[in-house]
């Protein structure tokens, strides 16, 4: 457990004039489910492909399981990949697709049969061994791609948006299957996706990238509750963002002067000084309707079942979003309400 499964040091990559990844330091701990998330073009797939050996970094070193693999070609690296398009070999059946990597290792026939058999069981494809990839559904193809990579027992399994092409229901189902498979085999999963909800639901840790830069790294809850930057705050969920200035700090946190002149208490990262411009972040679900608070007028209400999503206008703080329990009594457009949040749910990030 001491050494990380993957360690990147100062790794960067450019394609022509476009910088895909800025010098990047990243450690993926062994044995867990690790996600790299970010909008398209943020460098997450390029990072994954550099770990796989399918792209060569311009600078920096890559270690896998403690071994420097920066100059090692893809076919000699102890990592395997599940590709976004699955990349199943159309001229081979399911069995031979899964057996491909073992045949390259020149494993004895009975070992190949046994290990492929185990994988077919693990991904619940028994009986489909002789089917061609194009005879399978999208979900089944995805499972073949997973089995084909896992059968080699890689030090790290790399997954490049493997659920991107599937419909929502299937995606949800496969998310829990993936998490389940990861727990059972105990192999480190490095997962790339643009879908933060998907990443949060499966991952032990997530890394958020934007424009080739690692913005934050940590457990999902920390990233969600204590975002390091405005970008992270808004990428990982809805955020109410109130501009203000730091008015003072104490052991408990900071005091912030908001646009309406009032002072609010909030937690924040260390190192903010009095007078710093900041954004105060409050998640919609942490905004409550109260009897005595900031006055607001309801502009729209959407009923979502378990919750209600509200948009309200305030006089001094602009438009805000709220998420209240679905059974919390009815609210209608035009209602006058008052809202509040607890200082523990307010978090400061430096203004962009």
């Amino acid at each position: 457990m001491s050494q990380p499964a993957v360690r990147l040091r100062g790794v960067s990559k450019r394609f022509g004039d476009h910088v895909a990844v800025q010098p990047l330091d990243l450690e993926i701990p062994e044995g867990g489910f690790y996600s790299i998330i970010g909008p398209s073009g943020c460098g997450k797939t390029t990072t994954l492909r550099m770990v796989a050996g399918l792209e060569t970094p311009d600078t920096g070193t890559i270690e896998v399981a403690g071994r420097d693999v920066t100059r090692t070609p893809a076919y000699r690296r102890p990592v395997n990949t599940v590709f976004q398009s699955y990349a199943l070999f159309p001229h081979l059946d399911v069995f031979e697709n899964i057996a491909f990597g073992l045949r390259e290792e020149k494993r004895p026939k009975d070992e190949v049969r046994r290990r492929v058999g185990e994988m077919v069981e693990l991904v619940r494809l028994a009986g489909r061994e002789r089917s061609r990839p194009k005879q399978l559904s999208g979900g089944q193809q995805q499972r073949v791609a997973l089995a084909r990579a896992l059968v080699k027992h890689p030090a790290v399994l790399l997954l490049d948006e493997p659920l991107g092409a599937l419909d929502l229901r299937l995606r949800k189902q496969l998310q829990s299957e993936l998490k389940d498979v990861q727990r059972r085999v105990g192999i480190t999963f490095a997962y790339v996706t643009h879908d933060q909800e998907e990443a949060f639901s499966m991952s032990d840790r997530v890394a958020v990238m934007n424009e080739g830069v690692l913005e934050q790294e940590g457990p999902p809850e920390e990233v969600y509750r204590r975002p390091a930057t405005l970008f992270v705050a808004e990428f990982v969920g809805l955020a109410n963002r109130l501009a203000g200035t730091v008015a003072g700090s104490s052991a408990e946190g900071y005091a912030v002067r908001l646009a309406d002149g009032a002072t609010a208490a909030a937690a924040g990262p260390e190192g903010l000084a009095e007078g710093d411009e900041v954004s105060l972040i409050v998640r919609p679900e942490n905004m409550r309707l109260v009897d005595n608070g900031i006055p607001a007028v309801v502009r729209s209400v959407s009923y979502l079942g378990p919750s209600r999503s509200l948009r309200v206008d305030t006089e001094t703080l602009g438009e805000l979003a709220l998420m209240i329990p679905g059974n919390a009594g009815s609210v209608a457009d035009g209602d006058r309400v008052a809202l509040a949040w607890s200082p523990a749910d307010a978090w400061l990030v430096g203004a962009a």
């Binding site: 796989a52 050996g53 399918l54 395997n80």
Partner: protein, 266 residues
Amino acid sequence: MRIRRHWFTGLVSLAVIVFLWAPLAIVAVNSVNRNPLLARWGGFTTSWYHQAINNPDVRSGLRATMVVAACSTLLSLAIAVTGCLWWRRAGARGRRVFDGMTYLRIMLPEVVFATALFLVFTRMHFQLGTGAVIIGHTVWNSAYATLIVQARTASLDPALEDAAADLGANPWRVFRRVTLPSLFPAILAAGLLAFTFSFDDVVTTYFLNGTANPTLPVVILSMIRFRVSPEINAIGILVMLFTVTMFAVAFLAVSGAGWGARRSRA
């Protein structure tokens, strides 16, 4: 609404059918006609076929044709496949030059290439003969083969090769186990087409054959120069059957997407 046919279009269609197919039909009928003058129907016989098959000139011609066609096909495929693999990774300008050179070999008249090669070979004191003919055929055959293989190469998903490398296949194994099987239908079709074109060729062969054993089309040409023997009809039908079969297989190979989908043996 139904489109009314004009009598003229009907007449043109009829004329096309008659002029295209009537000679073939006559050849087919006469190939089994017992009357040696072929002036009228003299009863059924297969003796012209026997004669054709046993004619030493035809036999040596067929042998020469097979050697030339096989060698030229293999050379053309090697050029086409390596060329297409290069083309895949080439830049825009490299691709334009490559495409231009391919089209040029198809568009320029065969006589031009044949004459040019004849002049170059004689100046270089390169012996005219079977080797020269093979080179001559490969000039245009490799271009046709390239066009067919290129179409398949363009639609080849590079992720497949990434996946093979990721699973531990070195570059040669990637080519052997993924690239080549994916291109296989196109390679088969290109090969059959090239073989057929080479099998048929007169012009290039005539220019470059020198004193070597002439190929079958050249043999046929010299046979009809003196007199039209009924045997010619039998040879014609045999060649036609062979060619049609080759084209049919090539066509099936290209259209049948599932072709080449056999179990791999590592």
